[in-house]
């Protein structure tokens, strides 16, 4: 700040005393906190409205994914259901279990991958791990299990449909 007398034009342009200036900023900070508080209340309202009145759509009907022999043991196949953009992944474990999950980490939506021979699904972004058989979180930051689809067989064809009882963590 200019303390000499050469150029004191700023005093005219900004006629607020130093003491007042510090108080103004704290007052503004308090008001800003109040604004943030209002924003958070609105956000909570949005979550409540969305959860109660516009629940997420369920997968309707059964959808063909691929033939059984297209998928080797320990192999995976990504797919989407027609009419939606959610990526899914079909996993055939080494023990011949078939599982289908949303290929979106429940932490920050990174793509997850089956780690061959481990029975686990890995999220490389922040080292999150899920159980390949149940979708439960084993380690890392993800807060919820992976959303899951039911896998059903019709002869050699693999179909998926909405998972009956969605997994819940207590």
């Amino acid at each position: 700040m200019a303390t000499n007398n050469k150029d004191n034009q700023w005093k005219v342009d900004f006629p607020i005393q130093q003491l007042d200036a510090t108080q103004v900023s704290r007052r503004d900070f308090a008001k800003f906190l109040c604004l943030v508080s209002g924003g958070l209340a609105v956000g909570s309202g949005y979550v409540a409205a969305k959860a109660n009145f516009f629940p997420a759509e369920k997968v309707q009907g059964e959808h063909f994914v691929c033939k059984k022999d297209e998928l080797p043991q320990g192999g995976t196949k990504s797919f989407v259901i027609p009419g939606s953009t959610i990526p899914y992944v079909l996993i055939r474990t080494e023990k011949d279990d078939f599982r289908a999950y949303e290929q979106k980490c429940t932490h920050l939506s990174c793509a997850v991958f089956y780690m061959p021979k481990s029975g686990k699904i890995e999220c490389p972004c922040h080292n999150g791990w899920f159980d390949a058989l149940t979708g439960e979180v084993l380690a890392g930051p993800p807060p919820r299990p992976l959303p899951r689809l039911d896998v059903i067989f019709k002869g050699d064809d693999i179909y998926v449909r909405e998972f009956e009882t969605s997994p819940k963590t207590l």
Binding site: Q17, L19, D20, Q23, V24, R26, R27, F29, A30, K31, L33, C34, V36, S37, G38, L40, A41, G43, S44, G45, V47, A48, K50, A51, N52, P55, T106, P143, R144, S166, K168, T169
Partner: protein, 86 residues
Amino acid sequence: MSNFREAQNQAHPNKTSTLMVALIVVLILNVSIQIWLLYTALNNALNENVDIAFPAFLASLGLFLVGFGWLYFMPGIIRNKKVKYR
């Protein structure tokens, strides 16, 4: 002439500061509780456990109103009157 308020401000210049800090601390506390409520409501709603979302919203709204009313107690700007000596 000076009134009681001015005399107080001159005698205890720290008072306003203390009030301001108390106010801000309470507001920060409110905001932290609201963040927690939002986080919990969101996580539960995404887990198909929607019952918590509406009470969390009410609590959050209540905290906002409390914080808003709390601003009423914000100390005013102290104007130092220029004292003229003749």
